[in-house]
């Protein structure tokens, strides 16, 4: 009798401990990254972007850009107008990126001195965004399923509770061998990210300097990317951010590119 009861107790104990351990592993690395990727940012946004490129000698180049972005489901359209420096004023750039797997972005550029809109395409190795230290992927284009993710630990960073997630690309030829991201638990913002090159050496660090809740969405307002191997830094900061102001779909046309910003 007692023996039988003991057996039952044992089974009960094993079952509960299994359940408990499941409960503790409540989230996977992939889920964390997916949550960041899926964090709502509104349907459209307009803002003024200041991009500062700082080289190893400390020389700075500042670009001011007015940008409009609209999420249209299967396609995200973005149009950017250069405000400064003066010699590239009203140069505009339009990008349509598609959620469809394997479909390349469409890109156009308008050079006011040439008065022509040109399609550009680039598969060159860099894929760096406008000569900055950010790649298009760094700016949020990369699909979570392209990598394998693992939660390394949980720790506090800048006073926020973070998951520390390591992501390794499934494609061995990818430009990074791995990245490590600190993600704020309740906000799903990547606060800091370290990039490692093909040889496994530390290449870049992305640091988010400022984020704010606008219209109920967490928006990153200022960030810095430092390439530690080249000692080159890019900072980006947004101002005059307007979310869900109802940007018309007509904004994203060649005609609008030519019109420029007054």
């Amino acid at each position: 009798m007692t023996r039988r009861r003991n057996q039952l107790l044992l089974i009960a104990f094993v079952l509960t401990s299994v359940v408990f351990s499941y409960a503790q592993e409540k989230i996977t690395g992939l889920q964390v990254i997916q949550n960041v990727y899926d964090r709502p940012e509104g349907n459209d946004m307009q803002s003024e972007l200041t991009m500062t490129l700082i080289n190893s000698r400390g020389d700075q180049r500042v670009r001011e850009i007015k940008q409009f972005i609209k999420d249209m489901g299967k396609v995200e359209k973005k149009i950017m107008f250069f405000m400064a420096p003066a010699d590239v004023r009203n140069t505009s750039f339009m990008n349509w990126s598609y959620t469809e797997k394997g479909r390349d972005d469409d890109q156009w550029i308008y050079l006011p001195a040439l008065k022509k809109v040109k399609r550009i395409s680039s598969d060159s190795k860099s894929d760096y965004f406008m000569g900055s230290d950010f790649t298009y992927d760094d700016l949020g284009d990369r699909q979570p399923t392209d990598d394998r993710h693992k939660i390394l630990r949980e720790e506090k960073l800048s006073g926020e509770d973070c998951y520390v997630v390591e992501s390794m690309p499934k494609d061995e030829d990818y430009m990074y061998s791995k990245t490590i991201t600190w993600i704020i638990k309740d906000k799903w913002i990547g606060l800091k990210k370290e990039f490692y090159d093909e040889d496994g050496d530390h290449l870049k660090t992305l640091t988010v300097k400022k984020y704010e809740k606008i219209k109920g969405y967490w928006i990153i307002e200022a960030s810095e990317m430092k390439n530690v191997q080249k000692n080159h830094t890019t900072t980006m900061s947004l101002k005059n951010i307007k979310i869900d102001s109802g940007i018309s779909t007509n904004k994203f046309t060649e005609r609008m590119m030519k019109r420029g910003i007054k």
């Binding site: 180049r61 010699d87 050079l111 680039s122 860099s126 000569g131």
Partner: protein
């Protein structure tokens, strides 16, 4: 002096032990501290303005020398086998820890800026190796129509393509070179693979110099032993003279190691100098001793030694001091290795003098006089008598005309020093190799198919930012490039920011040749550059211009690295200086080829001043020693003659 020598020689055993101990100590220090300097940049006077500027410019534009690997396929490179090798070799080089990934340029990594019907593409020439003939033909067309690649990465006859791996100054090592060679070898057949470029030439030279020395030393020692034995006819005398040479060499190199100065290529000449001095001293001393013994068969060791020192200390000191002074005058050179060579050779010469005057007498006192005399008396061998007669006459002759002999010795030393300097006088590193050596053949092969393996960088510096967005400045650059390339067959190619802009202007106008020129307004230039930054690799741009567009780098490719070729290019570039200066743009030069040129001039300049200086000192010294100015002047006549011959 004589008294001092006699005093010291009262304790001959102690003298020997002390000299031996110090030699052992120096040997130990050498073992621990000696290193060869193989980095040729370390030979350059870093604080010289031309070098300071060049080093700065090298940093601004990331100017590095490139290793060039050429792949030749006599049937043409456009087949999947050869292209696969280009891709694989490129990737292999990129993975080497000495090479940065982005520093490898080949057809596989190069950007192809092309115009399309409605815009512009910056694409790789190929990612997957094209297999079928249509795709191969397509690739051939792409290369032919891109003047930034055709003739630069692929030869115009389409049988050779190059992979260029740029490396930093401090990276090259023998091990690295051999790994590159091994990797290249793997890709041979049916293609031929060649390795060239300045790092290879410099590296091989730094490695071959000391190796030649290592081979030379035993041979030289053997020859000396033989000559000494023939002259002195005595094993002990021969050995002790050799010890003088060996000890003074050990002391000189030991001191160098002790003060942490590495061995430079020039320093390897040091033993040769010391051999000349040490051997001469030894022969003088022993010859005198033999004559004394012949005349005084029953003299004691002390008597013989005292007579030898009495008669000989003056000439030995005189020759040694004048020689040392000659070497010390090398201090006026701006080139550090030559300065060091001067100081340490002078030190070695003085030590050889001390050993001749202390060590040799001490050995005589301790180990006895040579038994030469008895031999002659007992053995009435005809031949022996004859050679002895010769030796005797030689010794007598030496004494009779000792001043003449000293002058002759000195001339020999000056000539050898001059010969050594001459090796350094042409800035061409390549011309120091045998005409039929692999390195020279490879280099001329690559030069016959491409713009050139040597480079000259012209650095232009404007007063304010955006100078090199101005059409006028860019047009002047392009004009200068075309002029130099057209006028000089030795200049094969050139490259600047202008080439990027011409290319972009052309492709943005549907590949129309009419637009293969610098755009005529600054905004368009700025917009093209922005476009390039957005679609290409901006790091390429920063090799021809700084990010503030204030400084630009124009690269000329030359088929020869000798002074004449560089100077002829510089002469034409200088014609453009006034034009640039009017626009507030300064013209300077940079790069390893230019540094070698400046370096050569410095050596030549230093050679002349130190020669004049040493002449002056020697005239003064000789006059003082012989108490007559006329003798001093006469004594220096032969030196002047040699110098003039050398200069002519």
């Amino acid at each position: 002096m004589e008294k001092l020598l006699k005093r010291v020689l009262e304790y001959p055993k102690t003298v020997l032990v002390v000299i031996l101990l110090i030699s052992v100590a120096f040997t130990a220090i050498m073992k621990k501290n000696t290193r060869m300097e193989t980095n040729l940049d370390k030979y350059m006077p870093e604080q010289h303005p031309a070098f300071v500027y060049s080093n700065q410019a090298e940093e601004w534009f990331d100017i590095k020398d490139g290793i060039i690997i050429a792949i030749e396929n006599k049937d043409g490179i456009y087949n999947s086998g050869t292209l696969q090798k280009v891709k694989d070799l490129t990737k292999k080089l990129q993975k080497m820890k000495e090479i940065e990934k982005t520093d490898v340029t080949s057809l596989y990594t190069a950007d192809n800026i092309v115009g399309t019907e409605d815009g512009m593409d910056v694409k790789a020439f190929f990612k997957r190796v094209p297999k079928d003939s249509a795709k191969l033909a397509d690739l051939r067309e792409k290369v032919r129509s891109n003047e930034m690649v055709f003739g630069r990465i692929v030869s115009t006859d389409e049988t050779v393509t190059v992979i260029i791996a740029r490396i930093g100054d401090d990276v090259f090592s023998q091990d690295f070179y051999h790994r590159i060679l091994d990797i290249s070898k793997e890709y041979e057949g049916p293609e031929k693979v060649y390795v060239a470029g300045r790092p290879i030439v410099e590296g091989t030279m730094a490695y071959l110099g000391p190796r030649d020395m290592k081979r030379m030393v035993p041979i030289v020692l053997l020859v000396i032993l033989l000559v000494l034995y023939l002259v002195l006819r005595n094993v002990k005398s021969t050995l002790f003279t050799l010890f003088v040479v060996v000890f003074s060499t050990i002391w000189a190199f030991g001191l160098m190691a002790a003060v942490n100065i590495p061995i430079y290529a020039v320093s390897t000449m040091l033993p040769v100098m010391l051999i000349a001095i040490g051997v001469a001293d030894g022969i003088h001393l022993y010859s005198h001793l033999y004559m004394f013994l012949k005349e005084h068969p029953n003299a004691t060791r002390q008597e013989a030694v005292h007579d030898m020192l009495h008669e000989m200390w003056r000439p030995v000191v005189m020759t040694s001091v004048t020689t040392a002074v000659g070497f010390i005058s090398l201090l006026t050179s701006q080139v550090y290795p030559i300065k060091y060579f001067g100081i340490f050779t002078a030190f070695g010469v003085m030590m050889a003098m001390v050993f001749s005057l202390v060590f040799i007498p001490a050995t005589l006192l301790v180990f006895g006089l040579p038994h030469l005399k008895k031999k002659i008396k007992t053995e009435e061998d005809d031949e022996d008598d004859k050679t002895d007669h010769l030796a005797y006459r030689f010794a007598e002759g030496v004494l009779k005309y000792k001043n003449v002999i000293y002058a002759l010795t000195f001339i020999v030393v000056v000539i050898s020093a001059w010969g050594m300097a001459k090796v350094w006088i042409n800035s061409s590193f390549l011309e120091k190799f045998e005409k039929d050596s692999d390195i020279v053949l490879t280099d001329s092969f690559i030069n016959s198919h491409f713009g050139g393996t040597s480079t000259l960088n012209v650095v232009l510096e404007g007063k304010s930012g955006d100078t090199f967005k101005q059409p006028a400045a860019l047009e002047a650059i392009v004009e200068m490039q075309d002029d130099v390339v057209k006028k000089l067959p030795v200049v094969g190619n050139s490259f600047s920011l202008g080439d990027y802009l011409k290319r972009m202007n052309k492709v943005m106008h549907a590949d129309s040749e009419r637009y293969d020129a610098i755009p005529d307004n600054q905004d368009l230039i700025a917009q093209y550059l922005l476009l390039y930054e957005m679609s290409g690799d901006p790091d390429n741009l920063w090799q021809v211009v700084t990010e503030d567009y204030k400084k630009a780098n124009v690269t000329f490719q030359l088929k020869s690295d000798n002074s004449k070729a560089l100077n002829s290019a510089i002469a034409i570039i200088e014609e453009y200086r006034p034009k640039f200066e009017q626009a507030g743009i300064q013209v300077n030069y940079a790069g390893s080829g230019y540094k070698a040129l400046v370096f050569t001039d410095l050596i030549l300049e230093g050679q002349i001043t130190s020669l004049i200086l040493s002449l002056l000192i020697i005239v003064v010294l000789l006059s003082f020693m012989f108490k007559k100015l006329s003798i001093g002047l006469i004594g220096s006549v032969p030196i002047v003659i040699t110098a003039l011959i050398g200069l002519a």
